[in-house]
């Protein structure tokens, strides 16, 4: 860890102004401090935003749905009774992530901005990593890549976006509130992250000192029939090998609308629009669910070490759809 200077701010506007190039917001620190100790990130200034944690309530019911403070902890939101009832996919995506200790420490804002777990990125002594060192190459392409992505990949980077919560947000058409150097704005969650393309080091569309303040969850007929299914080698404390965030609006046995996002297999939070369309008007059974899963993975592009993720991604989605269709949902 390189020496840095430290400022603590307690309002959002001050935070967005305290930053400049070479600075970073410090929330729970569970991504940032790790990567600093590993010498991957070398910020010169840490702007501690933990003073904002109590500035707004973790979750508020609004006319249009719910507003989640970006400074709330993962644990607070996962335990919120309204979230658990109205947005089970959100609660589950948070609860199935990391460990209890990390969920107490980590914030929602930090969570969506967590960095990839590609170990070539996380250890600077590997030479080739375009994300860490633009233009240096990508060691994972022909290296160890069992956990890397098959969707949204490029010839420059195949790193998986590791988070869980983001899949729930993107599936539900959530929005992000920010304050930046030019003031507040609201963007679609879908527009927050970028696929690697030929600039894998640029992961989001946020301006350098733009602070995320909240996530807006719209009210919609599919949010109560929603779930997050996470598949991994061990049952907890591991990132997804594949995951699916699914929300269904059913009319009797047939799908009026579906919302689907896939995790663990893509370079960014991944919405599967075509698979959603494939389900409209259909009953959910193994055949229709499989059909949608085929569509969702149709454009996947694997490496030899992660070929299995295509089949795993499909099966994960199929299982999630079957489970969501059979959920007991109170009106």
């Amino acid at each position: 860890m390189r020496p840095f200077s430290y400022v603590r701010v307690d309002d959002a506007i001050a935070a967005s102004q305290a930053t400049g190039s070479g600075s970073a917001f410090l929330a729970g620190g569970t991504t940032l401090l790790d990567l600093m100790k590993l010498d991957v990130l070398r910020p010169e200034v840490l702007v501690d935003i933990n003073g904002l944690r109590d500035a707004s309530p973790p979750a508020t019911m609004t006319q249009g749905g719910m507003r989640l403070s970006a400074f709330a902890s993962m644990a607070q939101i996962a335990a919120d009774p309204n979230i658990r009832r109205d947005y089970p996919v959100i609660a589950q995506s948070l609860n199935l992530a990391a460990s209890a200790q990390l969920r107490n420490m980590a914030t929602l804002g930090g969570n969506v901005l967590q960095r990839t777990r590609c170990n070539y990125f996380r250890d600077p002594s590997w030479k080739a990593c375009n994300k860490r060192e633009p233009g240096s190459g990508c060691a994972a392409l022909d290296g160890v890549n069992r956990k890397h992505a098959v969707l949204g990949v490029s010839a420059h980077c195949i790193a998986t976006y590791p988070g869980d919560f983001a899949q729930a947000l993107i599936a539900l058409d959530a929005a992000v509130e920010t304050i930046g150097p030019v003031g507040p704005r609201v963007i679609k969650f879908d527009a927050l992250h970028r696929a690697p393309g030929d600039t894998p080091h640029v992961e989001t569309n946020l301006a350098p000192s733009e602070l995320i303040t909240a996530f807006i969850l719209p009210r919609a007929p599919w949010t109560r029939r929603s779930l997050y299914l996470k598949i991994r080698d061990r049952q907890s404390y591991e990132f997804a090998l594949a995951s699916a965030a699914v929300a269904l609006d059913m009319e009797e046995d047939s799908v009026r609308q579906a919302r689907i996002a896939l995790g663990g297999i893509a370079t960014k939070p991944w919405r599967a629009h075509a698979a959603e369309q494939a389900l409209v008007g259909k009953a959910i059974n193994e055949e229709t669910a499989n059909g949608a899963s085929q569509v969702a993975l149709a454009h996947a592009s694997p490496r030899p070490g992660n070929q299995y993720k295509i089949e795993l991604g499909r099966r994960t989605l199929t299982r999630a759809l079957l489970q969501a269709a059979s959920m007991e949902v109170r009106a």
């Binding site: 777990r117 590997w126 290296g143 160890v144 069992r146 991994r232 061990r234 591991e238 099966r315 199929t318």
Partner: protein, 767 residues
Amino acid sequence: MTRSAEPAVVRLGDPANRVDAQAKVTGAARYGSDPEVARPVFAFLAVSPIARGQITRIDDRQARAVPGVLDILTHENMRGEIRPVKFISDGGYMGSSIMPLSSPKVLHAGQIVAVVLADSFEAARDGAHRLAISYAEETPSPGFDSEGVEVVAGASASKEHQDPKVGDAEAAFAAAPVKIDARYSTPTQHHNPIELFTTTCAWDGDKLTLWESSQNVHSFKNGLAQQLGIAAENVRVISPYIGGAFGSRGSLTQRSALIAVAAKRLGRPVKLVASRDQGFTIASYRAETRHRIRIGADQDGKLQSLSHEGFEVTSRPDPYMVSGTDASTRLYACPNVASSVSIVHADRSTPGFMRAPPEVPYLFPLESAMDELAVALRMDPIELRRVNDTKTEPIKGLPYTSRSLMACFDEGAKAFDWGRRNPQPGSMRDGDWLIGLGCAASMYPTQMGAATARVTLTISGTAKVQTAAHDIGTGAYTVIGMIAAERLGVPLEKVDVQLGDSDLPPAPGAGGSNTTASVCNVVAKACDEIRARIANAAVASQDSNLKAQDPKALRLSGGRLIGPDGDGEELQTAMRRVSNGAIEAYAENAPHGVGPDAIERLYRGSQTLAGGAKLQDRIQFAFGAEFVELRVHRLTREIRCPRVLGAFAAGRIMNMKTASSQLMGGLIWGVSSALFESTEMDRRQARFYNTDLAEYLVPVNADILAAEVIIVPEEDHEVNELGIKGIGELGNVGTNAAVANALFHATGVRIRNLPIRLDQLLGAESI
């Protein structure tokens, strides 16, 4: 002095709580990196990213400019302070003969290339990150199947190596009506003890103290003295508590001498805490192995031919080899047996001991193949083992001192409800989950080494046991205390056990599950000498009601010296005839088969364990049977383990509680070694990839819902006086095969390459 009506009497086998439990959970226990030394300098290592080549340039200007950085050791400024010392299996002390900082040469990725020394840990780490080291890189040979590796037959690699063989396995295989011929593999695995690899060194004049968690303090002391060219008496190694070892702290690593040199140069104590990822290459690990098994059997399941070929990967210079064929060829009766072991020298760090080093990788293929044979014969796998059970060992025809394998299978099967198992693969389901039940045998050699101990009994009824044995979390403090308490007739709480310090009388390293047998027997001997002195004085005394009795028949029990009829006198009264203060006894024990110079060698930190299949006159093993239930999801193919159960017979059990915990930990680690643990390598660079605990997977509680241990009673009067066999490693042998066998039963998919992961099941049509 008041005395409770009934003083606590310790019986061997009692489930006594660990005597060190409180110290451990309250933080009072001092581990390797905990000693408080005055004004310590902190060390941080820099390690090589390349696996093979030369350092061409070291630019340390930026690193030295970091405030607080005091010095940086590299090969350029070492002055020959460290002498080469031989590898363990070549008669030396070192776990690896690769000497970092002795030349610009790099022999494996993660080799230490610099030691940054600073006033704070943070400055040392920052300095290490700012070192700019250039290399001339050569293409490395990562391991199996790669160009440039050197394959050496076991017998050429080691003078002691023998390939167990009997009859004509080739011909018998050809003639057998039922055949299994299959290849298996096990991955590289790392111990990852929670306590990181740390070293603290302090000099006082020409005397060096090393605080380092160690499974072999006398070996470390002698090895380090040799490396530094100083007298062994001038080195003291202190390691009272060990935060996990599993073999990783069994032999001296090269880091200790580097830290000793740094402390000498700076004239201050130096403390190193290596990072988790560095631990993957500066200490040892379990080598990757491959196997071919051929079994030929009769229609009734009787083995006619067994051949086991094993291959193990090691480093360039060191012939590390586990040769598990010693065990795998002796599990079942078979008239024709052939075996061979080869090692493959590649550009890797030197592997080493990891819990049941030979048996874990070598019983996986054997016990998988036995399951395959049972399937081929349409026979229950337990019945197949029964048909091939034996009381004499198949290679030399020697008798087992005891063998309760089938009793373990029968007890285990009952508790596990094996009877519910429908033998048809894929036939048992619970909703979307496929259920599989599998079993496998476990075996582990019963070994002992020469040991010494000093026991002191005081007039106030307290006792002290001193021996440089090690408690690596196994409960050694407790069972050693128990034998002294039982023999001296004092409560366990009154016994102070001191271990893990090379100033104490030497004992063997904690490896090969020998500690309980080696140390309890020698402590019993010392206690016996104390008892004899008290008893001899009593029978010769006019005022004793034990006068003229046979002194050998007198025992110390419940704070009294008593005769066979229970009559006797208070311990204090009896003791005063010998001493008003304390009686001290030092004892040595050289068990059957260790050789006449064993004690002398022990004092030089070099030991031989005798037992297992190495004795001329008999064969000593402990056995067990393990049962695993797996669940596999029909769609996503995740694998979960709701239950693992092991039944074990291992002679006398000194403490039912600590023994069960050991065996349970073994079972859990066994499941882990089948389903989770695998160190992945980037083969282009011959470099480990998943060198952290987020990516090197070990199970969480939710992965293994129930782990049960059954201890099957067994008496063995031959192995040693107390009849102890040792259980430290038995628990995690065979579990990997039981998992693979359960998986086959659940899914009809046979996986022969560990670890088993859902990737391998996704394409399966049988599910």
